[in-house]
Symmetry: C3
Subunit: 425 residues, 3 copies
Amino acid sequence: MYELCKKLFPINRSLTGNGNRETLRLLKEIIPNITVKEVPSGTKCFDWVVPKEWNCNAAYLIDPEGKTICNYQNHNLHLVGYSIPINREISFEELNNHLYSLPELPDAIPYVTSYYEENWGFCISHTERLKLKKGMYKVVIDSELSDGSLTYGELLIKGNSKEEIFLSTYICHPSMGNNEISGPVLTSFLAKHINLLSNKRYSYRIIFIPETIGSIYYLSQNLTTMKERVVAGYNITCVGDNNNYSYLPSRYGETLSDKVAKHLIKYSKHNFIKYSYLDRASDERQYCAPGVDLPVCSIMRTKYAEYPEYHTSLDNLNFISEDGLNGALEVYKELIEILEKNYYYKVVILAEPKMSDRGLKHTISTKSSMVESKHLMNVLTYCDGSNDLIDIANILNVPVSAIYKEVEVLYKNDLVTRNSERYSL
Amino acid sequence: MYELCKKLFPINRSLTGNGNRETLRLLKEIIPNITVKEVPSGTKCFDWVVPKEWNCNAAYLIDPEGKTICNYQNHNLHLVGYSIPINREISFEELNNHLYSLPELPDAIPYVTSYYEENWGFCISHTERLKLKKGMYKVVIDSELSDGSLTYGELLIKGNSKEEIFLSTYICHPSMGNNEISGPVLTSFLAKHINLLSNKRYSYRIIFIPETIGSIYYLSQNLTTMKERVVAGYNITCVGDNNNYSYLPSRYGETLSDKVAKHLIKYSKHNFIKYSYLDRASDERQYCAPGVDLPVCSIMRTKYAEYPEYHTSLDNLNFISEDGLNGALEVYKELIEILEKNYYYKVVILAEPKMSDRGLKHTISTKSSMVESKHLMNVLTYCDGSNDLIDIANILNVPVSAIYKEVEVLYKNDLVTRNSERYSL
Amino acid sequence: MYELCKKLFPINRSLTGNGNRETLRLLKEIIPNITVKEVPSGTKCFDWVVPKEWNCNAAYLIDPEGKTICNYQNHNLHLVGYSIPINREISFEELNNHLYSLPELPDAIPYVTSYYEENWGFCISHTERLKLKKGMYKVVIDSELSDGSLTYGELLIKGNSKEEIFLSTYICHPSMGNNEISGPVLTSFLAKHINLLSNKRYSYRIIFIPETIGSIYYLSQNLTTMKERVVAGYNITCVGDNNNYSYLPSRYGETLSDKVAKHLIKYSKHNFIKYSYLDRASDERQYCAPGVDLPVCSIMRTKYAEYPEYHTSLDNLNFISEDGLNGALEVYKELIEILEKNYYYKVVILAEPKMSDRGLKHTISTKSSMVESKHLMNVLTYCDGSNDLIDIANILNVPVSAIYKEVEVLYKNDLVTRNSERYSL
């Protein structure tokens, strides 16, 4: 995954533009069945309109001494996203209103955008900014802002059921590592893993979109279907560093996605930081909005806005690592495994089944033989149709993986039936 | 308020009588639209009957040495409430059975009544009682106990809706400060404040009654209407001292009145003592009785029966103060403000509204701009029709006053609708 | 009770056989109206089949030196339950595979059975086992395993209602004290106590069965009736020692039986160990199985499997005592009393009744008179039709026995009605 991050990192992504197309092209090398879609500028979606397409060929300043600075070729964060074209000389005082820097992180170039109001600007480290001299500067932004389209990728991996697990990640940030290139890279590898799973219970709807406008557009087109089909979903972002693990719940934290995440967290060897939905700042804002109410939450490594390097040039390839990505991928694989296995189970025999007839209990009863069959009997007794596998594991106070084998034994011995829904009792 | 307390303090109030009429006359100087009503003796109300009217002209004892003691003219607590007329000489031994004092508070005259069985008695400080000599005493009680009426005051302040806030206070105790003259005084000033509120959402039903028999009579006449209309209510008593703040819940503590009170308490600068409904001893006994079940609780300063001066001559004008009364009035004004503003809100747009189009968000997106709009967006996301304003404030863990401005902005921008009831979702 | 334990202790009980018949015959001396029933071998019940009847006349080993050891006449635990007949010489090595001992309890003879697979074996203290010499042993088991029947006892004590309290205890363990002879002995004395109660509200269904197969057979015959009638039940076992008190809940711990037990425990002078349903190992496995779902839990002294002597010869007549049995009997009598008295109550008067008219309140009102009537008024105010007696006691935070007198006063004064079900409000 880290190698793919290195390839994707330098590309200038934004809400729209060729950088997004190039990003999707590289992701398709991992998971070829991504369909790339284009949405024309001006398309209405709920309260929003798809903006003009933005591309940039070059952007830099020439200082009073003739030196080129803030060169977009060197680092695409130098240019405020969606800056309009410009080519003229201006005074330092005028320029200064268009400069962005972070005094508290003097060596970092900040990440700034102005998507929905025409504007321009340059981002610069505070250290460099303090060295700027008064005088006339040449400002060159060779950008294009015109009717075009918004580009996103979509992928449906079919399973046995039309019920879907929904995975969403975003491709709209220029050269930054944890937020965001880790997201689409991990999602691609997770999709590849899901593709290889045999006999999938669920179908998987996976999208690679620009944040906010992308998810809003996607919902405007697919909400009805998604409300029918999506049983759980995750917004995949900030999955690249090797520091923390984090969980951000859905609006009320009570969806199936949350249930699985909270169970996994409780028994995980990793220590998770549990955030509130009030700490949200990504596409769960759309997926969990009132009336949308999709069952979506987020498992992350270090959460956006919770590390100083966030949204600066310091969130670079050194901030993320193969270990960081792998840790997150393992967690997502485990979430998928739990979801796939998480049926409701119901015993078919009244009173205790005669387990010894099925080779599931010693025929000689001693003090120790009673203990041995206890775990299996505990699983069985809560297979009463009102509990899914996570409920049973929670009652037994064990990770759900500690009862996978037991329910399989019960199911293969025809002692229980299973169902996607709670049984009506 | 303290000045009015001084005027009302000396009057001899009881369940009935001219003292109650005089009290209402003085309250009308603050809030003229109180209607005074008379209920004839003998009127049946639920399990009770309105008693005879009781008035007293004079009452005293003459001791064996000819000295007048326990003179009702000096302190109306000297006479047991509803004492029958009497004028004769009796021995100290017989008199002693009719004397009441408090050994644990030797300088206090206790407050004693015998409303429903004909009886007579005198209350005396224990210090004075110990000085009494054996011998013959003259007992003079020039009282009248005869068919008349029970007097109470009622006030309806009309708002936009027929839904009502109910306020009840009592006017049946003779010269005592916190319990009770603080109650009707504060209620009058609160009524005056409500009168002046413009564009009131609720109507306000406010009553000044004798405790127990008054509330029972009032319920017997108005229960059906009140059950239809009253959304919240408070029993206003013990609101005059400057020591504690107290909260006494309704029978299960789960009405709207309790919800508002508990929210206010949680974020108040004052420290509230939270009592149980088992500690009740005032008219919530009627309002929260099974089958009555009105949404009534109490916010008090120091609660009845929880201070030694309670129901004695020591609960006097020194025990209460303007500061004490003002503190309670501010709390009640705040309760009213919360109730008036406490609508259910529901966002009208699917997914996030485009806030920058409405000037509610910076168009330039930087790290700091994201933080600035967060509080408004947090309010908005829980405007999902299932939460009233208090619910939203509780979720955000802020006092409801910290989101008044935000919901107003959302409402004025047509981003949300509002409703008195939870939206059906 | 201890005397009866001494009589019953030596008898060799098993799932079936004459020992069980003899046990029931002795129990009938205490409670003659037990009906003894016989269920033929081969009878199908749910997933099980009633096994052959097993009886044993003699069983012993003769060691290489001609000495008789492991003599069933000396202690019936020496023989593995349901051992098949055998009479031959075998080597020590072969014999060793059929010997059971407990190294961790070297002086105890363990309790071992092989009900459902034909087998044989001897149980021996580990100390004795270590002394055994190599060589040829004579093995004599003069047992019979043939079509016959399973024997159990049943008793229905009729009350005013067809609703039933269900008590179950088992009679299938040979000479052991706490688990199990304490169970049927206490149950007999409890039945005798119930028989003598006048004007019983409930009927009592009481069974003396072999564990597991007995309860499964009984359910297979009676489940429909029981689901209609049984409102609460207890599985009575391990009620003989004087060490701990224990509570084992039903599957979710939320039945009426649990509610009564948990209330009693909370206010008991004894300290109860609260187990989880995951710790179950007796007939609640059947009564609380999914689909069976009878309201059954267990109150015990020291719980099975929680003391080292359990299922060994050390669980003998010294392990139990009259005090131990009496302590448990008192608890069960109290459970029965609570169940009998645990109605829903509803006040019939709106607002507070005039208690002084009924002699339930002082007519003179002083500070102290208010306190005196408070407890009765607290009970009354929660007689709102939604609470049973336990709910009211829980709200008042007192043992239910502290309000027996109060509800009786209210009921006799026609202030409340009562009902077996929650009132529809």
